[in-house]
């Protein structure tokens, strides 16, 4: 019988919330609900990170998904709502079967694999990570070893967001060249 610690209880609770919300996020028709489910799922995942002893990444995860990505998702869902409202469910039975069989098969594969592996049965290690030391290590890594990747990441993010803004910009009135492309199919 496994030892039932408070930590495990919290972890199981959070894990259930994550998985349940994730399932909702992929099966709900109403995209606003699905979006909220996704955000809850990922924010709760941040909680799991904190339980696992990494406050910093947990906080960053929550900040990123409740702040930035949530807003993006909600706005895009709102802006494309005309199609969403009148749509109902576009998926056919075979879609669900394909997805279910393939992802179920993969899960089965992973489940058996993880259970078979001896190293994965080990319990929590005795060394509890001190979050201030971890944070310090992050800071040092960012200023020394990972300095250039960090800068590159900054450039990448800037480029990505400018690009996203440019792509999402409404077309000018005169720019009708792409219109008839959609008629092809």
């Amino acid at each position: 019988m496994p030892e039932l610690s408070v930590q495990l209880l919290i972890f199981m609770f959070l894990g259930t919330v994550v998985l349940a919300c994730a399932i909702y996020a992929v099966i709900l028709v109403d995209l606003i609900r699905a979006g909220y489910a996704l955000i809850f799922s990922l924010a709760t995942l941040g909680g799991i990170y904190i339980v696992l002893g990494n406050d910093f990444l947990g906080a960053v995860q929550i900040l990123l998904y409740t702040g930035a990505i949530a807003v993006l998702v909600l706005f895009v869902v709102m802006l494309t709502r005309k199609s969403v409202d009148g749509m109902g469910r576009a998926e056919k039975k075979q879609d669900w079967i394909w997805g279910g069989v393939l992802s179920g098969g993969l899960f089965l594969l992973l489940f058996i694999g993880i259970n078979k592996h001896k190293d994965f049965a080990s319990g929590l290690p005795p060394i509890v990570p001190q979050s201030d030391l971890t944070l310090q290590a992050f800071g040092m890594a960012f200023t020394e070893e990972y300095f250039v990747p960090l800068q590159i990441m900054g450039v990448l993010l800037t480029a990505a967001f400018i690009g996203a803004a440019l792509i999402a910009r409404p077309e000018k009135k005169g720019d009708e060249s792409g219109k008839d492309m959609g008629a092809g199919s």
Partner: protein, 102 residues
Amino acid sequence: MTLGFILIISAALFCIGLFGVLSRRNMIVILFSIELMFNAAHLNLIAFWRFGENPLAISGLMFVLFSLAISGAEAAIGLALILRLYRHYKSVETQSITELKG
């Protein structure tokens, strides 16, 4: 709490994401699912860090941070593209966009 337990949760999260990608036709939901798969990978990395010997060996965590940034950029670009496609095709379903067929 064992490492395998966390890995199974992460595997489940990944498979839920895969399920969404494979069975949904709405591009926004497919993007959601991709986020889920990303985060399953992050959970894996953090679990391995926690169960590793040295909490100060943070290479894996740096992966998570960079991957978070990438997934943020990916979400922004992906949603912008979806918006653009929606303006063109008046639809966000994958089945309605088949320009690349041979």
